[in-house]
């Protein structure tokens, strides 16, 4: 065994150091120094990660126990890191994309004051640290620490501009929605401890087959509730669009590329448990699919550039869950990877646009930016093609893999999935056409200031664009070439146990697969052509009407939640406050207090000040004690 993997703690160490330096020194470090430290930490992490990745690729994996964390009775929870194919792949995505976004941020956040600038990077570093902890954790508890850590950082960064009440509310919403999910996760961890007597992945998975399906279904459902919170699935997805209140690079890093995929990572990690619980798998697939199509419909009518991308993220995450639900774990992880590339690219591109437009986010006030922002335009276009699933761009391969697996499970999944994919192509190119094509519709002043972004922003765009284009080639399906799916090969040790359990008796015939691909690509192309054709000339400037209005208002889900959850809760809490608290509990507590006071007032009357009565009481006391002593005891 290679000992080099024992140094895996180096990876999260760098961001932690960066966080400490920037966080503690925020009042006296210069912006240059801050950005140097923050980006340097990420770069160092990335380099080390690449090194470990190569080592893992050679077939190494290691469980590194750092120290005993919790030791109670028979239960021992060590602080351990698991480095294998899955976690090393995520390491690369997190540190790589993370580094690019850090770099991008140095330019994007340049207008902030020194202390706030440092605060931003400190949070960002802390986020990366927590995310790495989540991914590297060798058991559910360490994972949960990272899980909570990223939730906290997400909260801090959404509310980064904390003087704006709306942003604070968005941060709170994100935190609360996440907490609901976390509760599920936590209960699952307790249940796992109760059932398995351990939380280490290795031990849990090794013993999973000996447990009853009911228990596993319960545990996996609870874990999935955690995942719906963190990965923004129905019904807990509403926080993610609101989370766009944070700075755009944050949206790119946390709310597109990394944190929201934590749920997928967790389920992929626990794939054996899910494979053994088919009921949960169906639930996961249905919820994922519903989210995918539901969020896509909303995205069609959004006019805020970031909101479109946010709903698109929710929708794409739905595809990943669909993949997990139908057992295409590799496909889901593959889509996580490609999605990280093109969605980060799209967010950063959007950030570049917003930057150029001086914090204008409404696409109705844009248009014709193609000429002013050539690099942004080109990279954004590539990102759009990638997400639309046009071959040979990366999105095609990963989405196709999921859809093919879905067809295997049920053709209905596939039909709905393809409909969603078509919508994806449509709203993405609606966004693209409205923003970059046609004529500029903003103010003169904005037009005057339009400029391409500095290199620190364009370089990450270019790098990500390249990845978005070629990223798919690690997962070329079998129909094109045998053994070309290097990702599947790489990840196979993680999913072997699951695959052995589900012996695939029939694979899709090549002709069917070609047909499926053809249909989905054709539909996407039609949607693209229609969208470009329609919105480049005559963008949708009025507020939507009729059914469109329902979509524009996100199916009124927030309002529905408000009406069926928040308002009744408020009513109950008012009831509890006014009736049960005031007259019940307060009455009881105050009653005791008053009772004691009353007793005190009465009892002190014994203290009459008369020696005679004192002596009398003492004699009475003596008599009572004597009676007790000799007659009662």
């Amino acid at each position: 065994m290679s000992n080099i993997l024992n140094y895996i703690w180096l990876v999260p160490l760098f961001p932690l150091i960066g966080f400490l330096i920037n966080g503690l020194g925020r009042n006296f470090l210069s912006k240059t120094l801050v950005s140097f430290i923050a980006c340097g930490a990420l770069l160092a992490s990335f380099v080390v990660s690449v090194y470990f990745f190569i080592s893992v690729k050679e077939g190494n994996h290691e469980l590194v126990k750092l120290f005993d964390f919790i030791s109670v009775g028979k239960l021992s929870i060590p602080f351990e890191f698991q480095i294998d194919a899955l976690s090393s792949l995520f390491l690369l995505i997190i540190t790589g994309v993370g580094f690019l976004i850090h770099l991008y941020s140095t330019a994007y956040m340049h207008e902030e004051s020194n202390a706030h600038y440092a605060r931003y990077f400190a949070y960002l570093n802390l986020f990366v640290f927590s995310m790495l902890l989540l991914v590297l954790g060798g058991n559910y508890v360490i994972m949960f620490i990272g899980w909570e850590g990223v939730g906290l950082c997400s909260y801090l960064l959404i509310g980064y501009w904390f003087k704006n009440t709306d942003y604070n509310n968005a941060a709170k919403k994100a935190f609360i929605m996440n907490r609901i999910g976390d509760l599920g996760f936590l209960l699952a961890v307790f249940w796992i401890i109760q059932q398995f007597g351990s939380v280490s992945f290795g031990e849990v998975f090794a013993n999973a087959e000996s447990k009853s399906t009911a228990v596993l279904t319960g545990i996996t459902l609870l874990l999935f509730i955690g995942a719906t919170g963190k990965s923004a699935q129905i019904p807990l997805y509403t926080w993610l669009p609101d989370a766009m209140a944070g700075p755009t690079p944050v949206s790119a890093l946390i709310h597109a590329a990394t944190m929201v995929t934590a749920g997928i990572y967790m389920i992929a990690r626990s794939n054996i448990l899910y494979t053994l619980a088919p009921t949960t798998q169906s639930v996961v697939a249905v919820i994922g699919l519903a989210t995918a199509i539901f969020a896509a419909t909303i995205a069609i009518k959004q006019n805020d550039i970031k909101k479109v991308l946010a709903y698109s993220t929710v929708s794409q995450l739905g595809y990943m869950f669909l993949g997990l639900g139908v057992g295409a774990y590799t496909g889901a992880v593959f889509h996580v990877m490609t999605h990280a590339f093109f969605k980060a690219l799209l967010f950063l591109g959007a950030g570049s646009v917003i930057h150029a437009m001086h914090h204008e986010q409404d696409i109705r006030n844009m248009g014709g930016l193609r000429k002013k922002l050539p690099i942004t335009h080109l990279t954004f276009l590539l990102g759009c093609i990638a997400i639309a699933g046009i071959p040979p761009f990366s999105g095609f391969f990963s989405k196709d893999e999921i859809l093919a697996a879905a067809y295997e499970a049920s053709p209905v999944y596939w039909i709905v999935g393809v409909a969603g994919a078509m919508m994806t192509a449509f709203y993405m190119f609606r966004l693209y056409a409205t923003t970059f094509l046609g004529n500029f519709r903003g103010t003169k002043e904005q037009e005057h200031h339009l400029h391409e972004s500095p290199w620190a922003m364009t370089v990450p765009l270019i790098v990500l664009a390249i990845l978005a284009v070629i990223g798919g080639f690690v997962g070329i399906p079998k129909v094109f070439a045998e053994n070309a799916h290097s990702l599947e090969h790489f990840l196979s040790p993680i999913f072997t146990q699951s695959e052995e359990l589900v012996k695939k008796d029939h694979a899709l015939s090549h002709s069917t697969e070609y047909m499926l691909m053809g249909v989905s690509v054709a539909l996407a192309l039609i949607a693209i052509l229609y969208a470009v054709n329609r919105y480049s000339k005559k963008p949708e400037l009025q507020d939507a009407e009729g059914f469109g209005k329902v979509l524009a208002n996100k199916w009124y889900v927030d309002e529905i939640y408000d009406a069926i959850i928040s308002k009744p809760l408020k009513a109950i809490s008012i009831f509890f406050n006014n009736v049960i608290e005031k007259s019940g509990i307060d009455g009881f507590v105050n009653g005791i207090g008053e009772g004691v006071q009353y007793a005190s007032r009465q009892l002190r009357l014994l203290q009459s000040g008369q020696v005679g009565s004192y002596i009398l009481l003492m004699v009475l006391g003596m008599i009572i004690l004597m009676v007790v002593q000799f007659f009662i005891k």
């Binding site: 009357l605 203290q607 009459s608 000040g609 008369q610 020696v611 005679g612 004699v619």
Partner: protein, 104 residues
């Protein structure tokens, strides 16, 4: 003529004790109360001597204890008289009801 025995003495002693307690409870004159206390102590003294003479005649423990009790009683009486005189100075009276200001 009947020789007084242990139980006679114990009876007298008990009677003295309760007379003392009664006096202590009912009297308001401080000097009388002081006398009641002395009565209690002396009833105990009588007890000591009675036990010593009739039950444990080998040694004079009880008698000596009595001597100590008398000494202590004298000391107490001295202090008591001083306190009573001080009270008399302020109230021109030695009624215990003058001393009922501290209460509750």
């Amino acid at each position: 003529m009947m020789q007084p025995g242990l139980y006679h003495l114990l009876f007298i002693s008990a009677a003295l004790f309760f007379i003392g307690v009664y006096g202590f409870l009912t009297r308001r004159n401080l000097i009388t109360m002081l006398m009641s206390v002395e009565l209690i102590l002396n009833s105990v003294n009588l007890n000591f001597i009675a036990f010593n003479k009739y039950v444990w005649p080998q040694r004079l423990d009880g008698v000596f204890f009595t001597v100590f009790v008398i000494a202590i009683a004298a000391a107490e009486a001295a202090v008591a008289i001083a306190i009573i005189i001080n009270l008399y100075r302020s109230h021109q009276s030695i009624d215990v009801e003058n001393a009922e200001e501290l209460k509750y």
